[in-house]
């Protein structure tokens, strides 16, 4: 396989991981929760698209729109039902709650749609390729990933810097109590950020299904990689998570080409090595606890 091809595919995969990592970072930024359920929330919403297409024969875009609405409601509901009632939660109890939501969603999805792999793909394919510059082959899928990632990035930039809600989310992240005093309804901000994150997760998951298969566990590994990308980027910074995702995707593709058997874990080993040197990821200032 030529070098350029590995590079482009790696970057596209990395963009997917980065996009999905955004979903993790978005929640961590506002509410300091590591959302282990992110993968399963995205998986469940993807199954909604699948269900609408297969059983009700909706047109693709209508199904996607329905899933977007479902994802937003699901995210907000998870925050409202499961996370808001927890009193003074520690980091560990938040992890356990989100893991519990993960088990719930995975259990329901396997109950409803069975554990077998389903036929599902987007109207874009990674078999169709273009050659804009001589010797530089890019698949339709990779192009779609780059374009969608760029659109979402631009949207997030404008959203966080120019809109009231985005400013409120940044304020909540910096100091929850001060934000409350300033008249920000922080509970609503949390619910909104969960819904938003869930939608971003759905976009990433739909893009990933084209490359992989659709079954109730298909988002488990991408989630772990996206989480690793987010950690690499420092959990807080939005450009950081995309760069982290790109590093993950490239590492995985190049190492996977060299040693296919070790493809699933190379990225994790590298993460641990990076964390040994920079304990707070590549793009965060080392966080020092006040005594």
């Amino acid at each position: 396989m030529p070098f350029e091809h590995l590079l482009v595919e790696g970057l596209a995969m990395g963009a997917c991981y980065g996009l999905f990592g955004l979903a993790v970072v978005m929640i961590y930024k506002t509410s300091e929760v590591i959302n282990f359920a992110a993968g399963e929330m995205a998986m469940f919403s993807t199954f909604i698209v699948f269900h609408m297409l297969t059983f009700y024969h909706w047109p693709f875009w209508a199904a996607l729109l329905a899933a977007f609405i479902f994802a937003a409601v699901l995210g907000a509901l998870v925050q409202y039902i499961f996370l808001r009632p927890a009193k003074n939660p520690t980091l560990l109890s938040l992890i356990v709650i989100t893991l519990g939501v993960e088990m719930l969603l995975m259990g329901f999805a396997s109950w409803k749609w069975g554990a077998e792999q389903q036929e599902f793909s987007l109207p874009i394919s990674y078999m169709v390729t273009y050659e804009p510059v001589k010797g530089f082959v890019i698949s339709q899928w990779a192009m779609a990933v780059f374009i969608i990632a760029a659109i979402i990035m631009a949207f997030l930039y404008v959203f966080f810097n120019k809109t009231n809600l985005g400013t409120a989310m940044r304020a909540t992240q910096q100091n929850k109590h001060a934000a409350k005093i300033m008249g920000i309804n922080t509970d609503r901000v949390f619910a909104f950020s969960w819904g938003f994150s869930s939608v971003i997760g759905l976009v990433a998951a739909v893009l990933l299904t084209t490359k992989t298969i659709l079954d109730p566990q298909f988002m488990l590994e991408p989630f772990l990689k996206a989480f690793a990308a987010a950690v690499l980027g420092g959990m807080m910074s939005i450009p950081g998570v995309l760069i982290g995702g790109a590093i993950m995707g490239l590492l995985e593709n190049f190492f996977g080409y060299a040693w296919p058997a070790w493809k699933p874990i190379t990225a994790f080993v590298v993460i641990v090595l990076v964390l040994c040197v920079r304990p707070s990821g590549l793009f965060a200032k080392h966080w020092v606890k006040k005594v």
Partner: protein
């Protein structure tokens, strides 16, 4: 309520006659249990006790030292594979092999403890998680470890074959007594560790690592030691688990197993030995036995089957245990973050002062 007047009262094993009495009742109950139960339940009890050993060890790390580990399935796997391979490849007798395997696991715990010194929160989570996944993949890809097809445990010969002493345990009943004795020893060990200087250092690190360092606790030594002790327990549990199952492959030790382990101690109660025993028993029962025959569950069994046929799929009905586990995890965290141990404490307080 429980005023302590002397140092000895703090370290003694049985705080009162009542506790001693109930401990004896429990022991008698456990040793005579096989008289009342069928073979399947003995298998389940073996599984529960293996998980008890692991949960007690994990609680030393998570509950007492305050670190987070999502990679304990890795240590568990190391214990299982090391025990079986030492016995089959090198011909080492069972007990030395088990202890050696546990020390190998403890060594890996020490290795994982080194990066953990600098990490906390999400960073520690991903590091331990990566460790667990890495162990699973390494085992799955190397032929020495049986690869993807897995390993078969040899006969459980607890004698020394080289000297001609053979005592092969074949039934679940004999394995039950072996595992029971080891479990009791390991639990007593854990109770005692927490009462020594080391255990108090662990608790001090959990409460505030900076304050602990100020009063002269060497964080490097005690944090890595906590990982090593916890991994040692996981190694022993893994070695026994290999013989309870008889056959295992890398997929047995997946990411979800690490989650189950974490849930056991969280549901039982962080930092409490009795809690982790209760949690391990409860979660193992929930995962392995409660939803085995759903249509046989009284009252709601038929109802669930009907719902599955009507709206969901009948093949996926086994996933009910995952749903139940998820509900337990969320419910415990929302309503009783201290787990079973917290419920016990509340009940005790209520009845101590009952009429008032």
């Amino acid at each position: 309520m429980d005023m302590k007047r002397a140092y000895y009262e703090d370290i003694e094993l049985f705080k009162s006659g009542t506790i001693l009495f109930w401990a004896i009742v429990l022991m008698v109950g456990l040793f005579t249990l096989p008289l009342f139960s069928t073979n399947y339940y003995l298998y389940l009890f073996n599984l529960i006790m293996v998980h008890v050993i692991l949960a007690v060890g994990l609680n030393i790390l998570v509950g007492s030292t305050g670190q987070i580990s999502l990679g304990h399935a890795g240590f568990f796997a190391i214990g299982a594979y090391a025990t079986v391979l030492l016995m089959t490849k090198l011909g080492i007798p069972f007990f030395p092999a088990l202890i050696l395997a546990a020390f190998i696991a403890a060594f890996f715990g020490f290795i994982l403890g080194l990066p953990a010194l600098r990490l906390e929160g999400p960073y520690l989570t991903i590091a331990t998680l990566a460790f667990g996944l890495a162990i699973m993949h390494i085992i799955g890809h190397m032929e020495v470890f049986g690869g993807r097809s897995g390993l078969r445990a040899p006969d459980l010969n607890i004698g020394i074959a080289q000297l001609g002493w053979n005592l092969t345990l074949t039934t679940d009943l004999s394995k039950y007594y072996l595992i029971l004795i080891i479990t009791i020893l390991m639990v007593l060990g854990a109770i005692n560790i927490l009462k020594t200087k080391v255990g108090r250092a662990f608790v001090a690190i959990r409460d505030s690592d900076i304050a602990a360092e100020v009063i002269g606790i060497n964080l490097t030594i005690y944090k890595t030691l906590s990982f090593a002790v916890s991994a040692f327990y996981a190694g022993i549990a893994g070695g026994l688990f290999a013989f309870v199952l008889g056959f295992f492959d890398p997929i047995t030790f997946n990411f979800f197993l690490s989650i189950y382990f974490l849930v056991m101690i969280v549901v039982g109660g962080l930092g409490s030995i009795m809690g982790s025993i209760a949690g391990a028993a409860f979660i193992t029962y929930l995962m392995y036995a409660l939803f085995k025959n759903i249509s046989d569950i009284p009252y709601i069994g038929d109802f669930i089957v009907n719902i599955s046929q009507r709206w969901l799929s009948i093949t996926g009905i086994d996933n009910l245990s995952a749903i139940a586990l998820g509900l337990v995890m969320v419910g415990i965290m929302i309503f009783e973050p201290m787990g079973f141990f917290g419920i016990w404490i509340r009940m005790k307080k209520y009845w101590k002062a009952w009429p008032f």
